[in-house]
Symmetry: C2
Subunit: 681 residues, 2 copies
């Protein structure tokens, strides 16, 4: 274990000779019992862990949650359910602003795009994958890897009965098959007003002390009835106390603690600067768009929230990458690895892998702009375009064998894909037009007006005019049309957005193929080599980088030092009222103003713990040793953003809503005895 620490190098506390840090996003079949025991005493039992796994859920769109009643009630964050809340809103009935409470079970409202997954089984498929890719490299390696993954997933899924994902852990060190139960009938039960869910708004996001009620309850249904579930977390009325040992189960999205220096430099010098500039500009556009009237503010709110959230997260991550302590640490860590590999009789291959990973970053630098704008994040700002592309590509992909399709069209992915494609969520043309125009203008700006791709995309049109033509002319806002085109193909339609997606498709597929064959496949293969060498040098007793799969982490409810100030770990309701100014984002909703005198102002509201989480953990339960939920993760402090790259236990904090505030609010602000009973029975 000390050897593992040496190459992981992210275990800063260890180096100082103290006990194990709370670092680690552990798989549920890899809980570090001995490590936990050394710091905190008795370790959770296998039954406890199985129960925690089955009571934890994943929101497939990118969040976590947990069952909190036997009737399929799921607790997650308001910001995780915001898509649904927005989708069931109308101009006249803005549920983001007003909140939503289903007084009776029949008032619960369908969320057209939510999918809930519960992890049933983990199976090691490393041997099978390695066999399929053995002796291959470059494009061959990548194609063989994707094909075998699709094959394994299709076998497991049994025609859509299960959701099955092959998960690449330790950057190729291990491949596990995750089999989930899938719920697609998910209904909204309760959401507070966004003013209290996201009190403090962007300025307080990633900050602590904090005063948010970032909660939503949804319920999963089976055959039109609330699903009965065996495993769920009991609600703790007492909540968290400073010094308590707590656990978080959930789905951290992505960490990059095992990347090489060359990969880190690519992020620092190329990807993040570009992303930050593009996001900043779009943020400005959506900010001003939102000022153009209440309806524009309503329809842009969710996109603006996610954009600002991502912007701040990238900003924090970039800051860590620019931090010279981090840079020195990372360089030293890699040098140590190189030194050990040089002394290792079979280290040459891994040393070569390090160099090949560095070389491929050069290729990526040349390719990134085009890839990002045509096929990556840059091409995804518009829902209508994404749908058009899906439909156009399905024409071709449906004719191919499962294992050679683009990954998002593999059989096992179709249920989620079509749920989203056929969603009845409204599409807002004003907002779409702005987003399409923005994307097109960035294509021209980043590639240049004379680049063949720019000419292909724009022709002789301007971004604004083309965006208007496409958005006003398309019929794809109608889910019925999308379903018909999915079934019958797009050949017969003259829909302009479909035609546009078709015009781009050869170029977009080409750059994707180049990326997959010349970058991704090389990185995947060489990272595997590196992972095997690391296992050989340091053992396997460590945790893999986050992959939006279920993990468990543990820690202590604890404050921290910020400059000269001691930050205490638990806030209470009184602080909320003190912080409120009456001006957004520090304005309270009327319900809270009215309830103030009824509330116990000493009730714990938010709290910080040393649990090692990142984005994707939003909605995770915080549970105590007895398996009761004491909190609901909704954020990390600003120092936690560096957690993508390393874990600094002294300041990295997970931030959660305390259960006592939830119960107090449901009872006294929202008058929902039905829900309080369900949570506490």
């Amino acid at each position: 274990m000390t050897r593992a620490a040496a190459w992981l190098g992210v275990l800063g506390v260890l180096a100082a000779g103290t006990a194990w840090a709370d670092e680690g996003m552990w798989t549920l079949n890899g809980f570090p019992a001995e490590r936990f025991r050394q710091r905190y005493g008795e370790s959770p039992s296998a039954e406890w862990l199985d129960h925690a796994r089955l009571a934890s859920v994943r929101l497939a769109q990118g969040c976590s949650g947990s069952f909190v009643s036997r009737d399929g009630l799921v607790m997650t964050n308001h910001h995780c359910a915001a898509g649904c809340i927005q989708e069931v809103s109308t101009p006249e009935n803005d549920l983001m602003a007003q909140g939503f409470r289903a007084e009776r079970i029949e008032d619960e409202r369908a969320c057209p795009e939510l999918e809930v997954n519960v992890l049933q089984e983990i199976r090691d498929v490393t041997a099978r994958i390695h066999e399929a890719t053995h002796g291959k490299s470059g494009a061959d390696f990548g194609q063989a890897l994707r094909a075998e993954m699709s094959r394994i997933e299709a076998e497991c899924a049994q025609g859509g009965r299960w959701r099955c994902d092959v998960v690449n852990l330790y950057h190729g060190g291990r491949y596990d098959l995750y089999r989930y139960k899938r719920y697609q009938d998910v209904r909204l039960v309760f959401a507070p007003e966004d003013r209290i869910a996201f009190f403090g708004g962007d300025p307080d996001n990633f900050m602590f002390p904090r005063y948010d009620l970032d909660v939503a309850f949804v319920r999963v249904y089976e055959d039109g009835k609330p699903a009965r579930v065996k495993d769920f977390f009991k609600f703790s009325a007492q909540g968290p106390r400073e010094g308590d040992v707590v656990f978080v189960t959930g789905h951290p999205g992505r960490t990059m603690r095992l990347l090489t220096v060359a990969q880190i430099e690519f992020l620092r010098d190329v990807l993040y600067p570009m992303t930050l500039k593009v996001y900043a500009e779009l943020r400005g556009i959506l900010t001003q768009f939102s000022r153009e009237g209440a309806e524009h503010a309503r329809i842009a709110r969710n996109d603006l929230f996610y954009l600002e959230n991502a912007f701040k997260a990238y900003h924090g991550m970039h800051k860590t990458l620019l931090d010279r302590d981090f840079q020195r640490h990372k360089a030293a860590e890699e040098q140590t690895l190189r030194d050990r590999l040089s002394r290792d009789p079979s280290g040459a291959e891994a040393l070569a892998a390090l160099d090949r990973i560095a070389a491929v970053q050069e290729r990526l630098r040349g390719l990134l702009t085009e890839y990002w704008l045509l096929e990556g994040r840059g091409a995804s700002f518009s829902k209508l375009f994404r749908m058009a592309r899906t439909l156009v590509r399905w024409d071709e992909e449906r004719t191919k064998a499962n294992e050679v399709r683009l990954r998002e069209f593999r059989e096992s992915a179709l249920p989620s894909l079509t749920q989203s494609l056929f969603s009845t969520a409204p599409i807002e043309p004003d907002l779409e037009e702005v987003q399409v125009a923005f994307w097109l203008s960035k294509v021209r700006e980043h590639l240049g007006a004379d680049h063949p791709v720019t000419r292909l995309v724009l022709g002789r049109d301007s971004p604004e005019d083309l965006a208007r033509t496409l958005v006003r002319g398309t019929g794809l806002a109608d889910p019925g049309l999308r379903r018909r085109l999915w079934e019958a193909g797009t050949a017969a339609t003259d829909d302009p957005m479909i035609a546009f997606a078709r015009r781009l498709d050869a170029a977009a597929r080409a750059v994707r193929k180049t990326y997959e064959d010349e970058v991704e496949a090389v990185e995947d293969r060489e990272s595997e080599v590196l992972a095997r060498a690391r296992f050989r040098l340091a053992g396997t007793d460590t945790y893999p980088d986050a992959t939006f799969t279920l993990r468990i982490t543990y820690g202590t409810v604890a404050g921290y030092r910020e400059g000269s100030r001691e930050v205490s770990p638990v806030t209470v309701l009184r602080g909320l009222f003190e912080r409120a100014t009456g001006k957004d984002p520090y304005a309270l909703p009327p319900s809270w103003e009215r309830a103030r005198d009824r509330l116990d102002l000493d009730t714990p509201m938010n709290f910080a713990s040393t649990c090692d989480i990142v984005g994707g953990n939003s909605g995770s339960p915080v549970i105590n040793r007895r398996g009761e939920v004491v909190g609901l993760i909704f954020d990390g402090n600003i120092q936690s953003l560096g957690g993508a790259f390393w874990f600094e236990e002294s300041v990295n904090r997970a931030v959660a809503v305390a259960t006592p505030a939830l119960l107090e609010a449901l009872a006294k602000v929202y008058d929902l005895p039905r829900l309080v009973r369900e949570l506490t029975r």
Copy 2:
């Protein structure tokens, strides 16, 4: 000279053993005659240089220009006169869109904020400055330096008769006093439509080949009559040809070729990333604001142009700083300097200076955000706030002796300061409100909602509400009120913007003082030490970093290689019509559509040369050996943006409008025989 090259290290061509590169922004009293002769034969005479100096002008707001007739006619860029063009526009009469032509001399229109300077004399005041600062360090050094500069300037200015600036050259290696004749009665003579002046808009900005008519003519007046000038450039009807040797005189704003590695890293990792993000967001806001209607587009156009221009320039500069070839080069250059200093018996002080400059960057990293937002660029987005701050500070500064005032209030600066303060240019409340709100929101975002400065700035208000209160409540849009408050003081007014500026003033002055005493003064002093050591090691036969003072540079009309493509150096009018799509920013104004058949389409339009320029050179004349103007600098190619840090002759190109296109357009598109006669007589 080879030794100079070794420490300058920016002379890439030299290292390969070829002739001198065209690098260098030479002072008019430091023209490198021998160096020029070696590459191009006979060097310009002292008379030629004197004439060029007196025929070159500076637009004090940040551009260059030249006299092109004996009647005080000044040629500059459309984008340099855009402030004026916008200021004399109205919603009904949008001169940016329509262009402006003064058919008769009495139609010429006053530009309320333009000031034109003509350099009369350069005097070396190094000894006097050194005497004043001798033996001092830290805050004492900075205060003594500023005081002595203000004293010298006041003596020279003779109560406002001259404009006098002490210029710090070679980062303290030399101090020169520049004495200018100043014209403040400047009138607009001609400006084309912005569609042709800035054809291709932001996408084509910093690109080549190019097709812009980025020209404006203004005229300086004395005693209400056109000023008679002895020195002016004759207009060449023939224009430039590939291979011609050409000169550019003008006022490059700022280069940073002599910065240390630590200073460069500060820019790369701190200042530029922050600036780029803030500019990108404001760009998004102004872009969307401009879509809200023709009037919003009109009033935001100029700000948006300058913002996008700056954004692209920072982007290009940042790209150079992230370039690994540049990084290696810079590190090697500094290592060479350190090695030589180590061997130099008196090198210890300069080595210590390098370390102190590095240490002060750490201080700056901690200080930057607050400084930038309260006192630097971040606090300057709103005209109304800038004016309020000037008025509030003048109350105090007027009571102080000249040499201890804040630099912008020194006696010699007052004519320019008051010209701008009393300007009759309209102020647009809609735009102001957006800019103030943006600034306030960035204060909160970057410092945090709980920072004392944020609380001081916002109180319990929101950025939007406070911006509205300040902008709608202030009377400062009235130049008459500003004049009265300047004269009588602000004590008696309850104007909300004045009150706001006053509320911030102690904190803003404090952070400025910290910056000046603990950063600027240290950098200034230690840079002086370094400059002296460099002179000692390598001689003085080199050029100083740009300082927005008059320089001359020379080169060849020449194309370059871009990837696999040879870019030819001269474009012709035909290319303009081929590039036009009818959609902005590639739409031609109607005047050009109408004139098309009358034009000689083989007329040279824009051209590239190897002259070493940067921002501030906009509006510079390109002159041939005979002293005739053959072009008008308006841009550099994208590769030239790295010129802030190093000069790469193979690709760095200055971009200019060719005089034949100017004459062709004035005659056949704009039907202005008066102006053609004046230029060609």
